[in-house]
C-alpha cells in the first residue's frame, strides 16, 4: 500500500469569441463637465472584472489617469447593446468597443485643447497624468478638468465617442465544416503533479504549473485570478464534479453543496503560474480572452499524471476513487 507520485502534461489552445461572428458589443463614452469620462455599457461583470478592464482600456486610450474613468453598466435603457458575457468574448469585444469610443472622444478632447492653447491638435500629447500638453513643451498645457469645463461652457462641444466591435458573421459549410468561428487563440500548457493512494483510490493534486499565452495581460493581477481560480475549477471538474454521479443513469443527483463535491481550501495544490504574451492584432492592446480556458488543461494534465503515477488510464470524468480502484484492480488482473 503506497502513495504513488506522477506528473502529467496537457497543452491546449482556446478560441476568443467563438461565436461564428455576428456578436457585436457597443460602448459609449462622454466627459462630464469636469473631465470625468463615463463609459456606458450593457455588459455584465460575472466577477471576471470587465468593469475594471473597460476602465483601463479607456484610460490608456484617452491618455488620462484611471481615476478619471467611471463605468456605468448594465441598464438596457441607457447602455448600448452588448451580446453578453460568454465565449471569453468580454475583454476582446468590449475592450475593442471601448477603445474605439475613447479614441473618438480623445480626438474631440485634442481638438478643443488645440483651440484653447492655440496650437495644432497634431502637436499635442498626453502623459497619463490628466494634462494635455504641447509636445516638448511644459509651457503650453491644460488640465482635463479645465479643458472639459471650457469644452462645455465655452466651445459648446461634447467630448464623447461611440464604439462598436463586430466580427462578421460566418456560416459553417455543412459538408466540410469550413468556417471562421473565432477572433484569435490563447494558449496554455499545464503540468500536474499528483499522488495516488493505491489503497483508497484518492488522488491528491500536489502541484499545478500553468503557462499561459494570453496576448497581453491587461491587468496581471486579474489575469492571475483567472488562471488560478480556473485551475481550481479544472481540478474540481477532474476529481469531483457531476450532477449525475451514475451517468447515464439518472437516479442520483446532488442537490446542494453538501453533496455536490468540490475541493475546499484544504485541498489546494501549490500553483506556479507564468504568462507569455503574443499580442493579437485584433485584440484590445493585443489581449486575447482567457475567461473560460483556465479550467481546461488541468483536467487532462491530472488524468495523465494519474497514469504516470499508477498506470491507471482514466477515461471517464470525474476521476473518483472508485474509478481509480477499479483501474488498479484491472491492472492486477492483467498482471
Amino acid at each position: 500500500m503506497a502513495k504513488l507520485r506522477g506528473r502529467g502534461y496537457a497543452s491546449v489552445n482556446y478560441p476568443t469569441g467563438m461565436n461564428l461572428g455576428g456578436d457585436p458589443s457597443q460602448a459609449l463614452i462622454h466627459s462630464t463637465t469636469t473631465g470625468t469620462f463615463v463609459i456606458t455599457l450593457s455588459s455584465v461583470d460575472l466577477g471576471q472584472g470587465i468593469k475594471t478592464i473597460a476602465a483601463q482600456c479607456a484610460a490608456e486610450t484617452l491618455g488620462l489617469p484611471i481615476e478619471n474613468v467611471l463605468v456605468d453598466t448594465a441598464d438596457t435603457d441607457t447602455g448600448p447593446h452588448c451580446m453578453g458575457t460568454f465565449a471569453s468574448r468580454g475583454t476582446h469585444r468590449v475592450g475593442n468597443a471601448v477603445i474605439m469610443a475613447a479614441a473618438e472622444a480623445r480626438g474631440v478632447m485634442l481638438e478643443v485643447a488645440a483651440e484653447e492653447l492655440e496650437v495644432d491638435a497634431a502637436d499635442l500629447e498626453t502623459d497619463g497624468t490628466g494634462v494635455i500638453k504641447l509636445k516638448g513643451s511644459d509651457e503650453k498645457s491644460i488640465h482635463i478638468t479645465d479643458l472639459a469645463l471650457a469644452a462645455h461652457f465655452k466651445h459648446g462641444r461634447t467630448i464623447s465617442g461611440r464604439g462598436i466591435f463586430l466580427k462578421e458573421p460566418s456560416t459553417p459549410v455543412p459538408e466540410t465544416g469550413e468556417m471562421d468561428p473565432d477572433s484569435c487563440q490563447a494558449h496554455a500548457c499545464t503540468a500536474a503533479v499528483v499522488e495516488v493512494d493505491d489503497e483508497t483510490g484518492v488522488i491528491e493534486v500536489l502541484e499545478l504549473y500553468n503557462v499561459y499565452e494570453i496576448g497581453r495581460a491587461l491587468n496581471p493581477a486579474m489575469a492571475t485570478q483567472q488562471v488560478e481560480g480556473g485551475a481550481w475549477m479544472g481540478l474540481s471538474h477532474a476529481l469531483f464534479e457531476t450532477t449525475e454521479p451514475y451517468y447515464p443513469r439518472r437516479d442520483h443527483g446532488p442537490r446542494d453543496f453538501a453533496e455536490y463535491l468540490m475541493p475546499g481550501p484544504a485541498d489546494l495544490p501549490a500553483q506556479h503560474s507564468l504568462f507569455l504574451e503574443r499580442p493579437a492584432g485584433n485584440g484590445p492592446y493585443g489581449a486575447k480572452g482567457i475567461g473560460e480556458m483556465t479550467a481546461n488543461a488541468p483536467i487532462p494534465a491530472i488524468a495523465n499524471a494519474v497514469f504516470d503515477a499508477c498506470g491507471v488510464r482514466l477515461t471517464a470524468m470525474p476521476f473518483t476513487p472508485e474509478r481509480v480502484l477499479r483501474g488498479l484492480d484491472a491492472l492486477r488482473q492483467d498482471a
Binding site: 485570478q225 488560478e228 481560480g229 481550481w232 475546499g264
Partner: protein
C-alpha cells in the same frame, strides 16, 4: 403561531421588529432591517454566503430562527467598517485580489473577523479551517487565505486588540 416582537442588538444598535416564529435571521436582516450584505446562496447552511456573527461567533443566518437569538448581539458586514474606513480584513481583501464575483465575500470576511478576534496570529491551517464552511466558486480560495493571513499581520502591526466590541452600524 402568531407573530411576536423580537429585539436584537445589530451592529451595536438595539433593533426591534415583528416576526413570525421560525423566520430566519437572514430574512430579518435582509428584508426587515435592509441589511443585504449577507447573501442567500443555498438556504441550507451549506455555502456560508449568509454568515454573520451571533455573540461574536460565526453563524449561517439562513438556519437561525430569529426568536432563538432574541436579545443577542448580531454583527454583519455592514458593521465592520467604521466611519467609512475599511478595517484590516476588508482592506486586505481588496489589496490581495481576494474578491471576484463578490457573492461569497461577506461570509468570508465575517468568518475572518471572528477568527482574528479570537486568535490574532492564526496559522494557515487555522485560516483554512475557519473558512472551510464557505464556498467560493471563483478564486480557488488561495487569495482569500492569503488575505486573511495578511489582515492578521496588519492588525498585529496596528496594535489592534483582539475581541474588540462591534463597531457602530454604518448607515448605507
Amino acid at each position: 403561531m402568531p407573530s411576536q416582537i423580537v429585539s436584537l442588538v445589530v451592529n451595536g444598535e438595539p433593533r426591534e421588529f415583528i416576526a413570525r416564529p421560525g423566520t430566519t435571521l437572514l430574512t430579518i436582516l435582509r428584508e426587515s432591517l435592509g441589511l443585504t450584505a449577507a447573501k442567500r446562496g443555498c438556504a441550507q447552511g451549506s455555502c456560508g454566503t449568509c454568515t454573520v456573527l451571533v455573540d461574536d461567533r460565526p453563524a449561517t443566518a439562513c438556519l437561525v430562527a430569529v426568536e432563538t437569538v432574541a436579545d443577542h448581539s448580531v454583527r454583519t458586514l455592514e458593521g465592520v467598517a467604521s466611519d467609512g474606513n475599511l478595517d484590516e480584513v476588508q482592506s486586505s481583501f481588496v489589496d490581495n485580489f481576494a474578491t471576484q464575483c463578490g457573492f461569497c465575500t461577506a461570509g468570508m470576511i465575517m468568518v475572518a473577523e471572528a477568527l482574528l478576534d479570537r486568535d490574532p496570529d492564526p496559522s494557515e491551517e487555522d485560516v483554512i479551517e475557519a473558512i472551510s464552511g464557505n464556498v467560493c466558486r471563483c478564486t480557488g480560495y488561495r487569495p482569500i487565505v492569503i488575505a486573511i493571513l495578511d489582515a492578521a499581520r496588519r492588525r498585529r502591526e496596528a496594535g489592534v486588540e483582539p475581541g474588540r466590541p462591534a463597531e457602530e452600524a454604518v448607515s448605507r
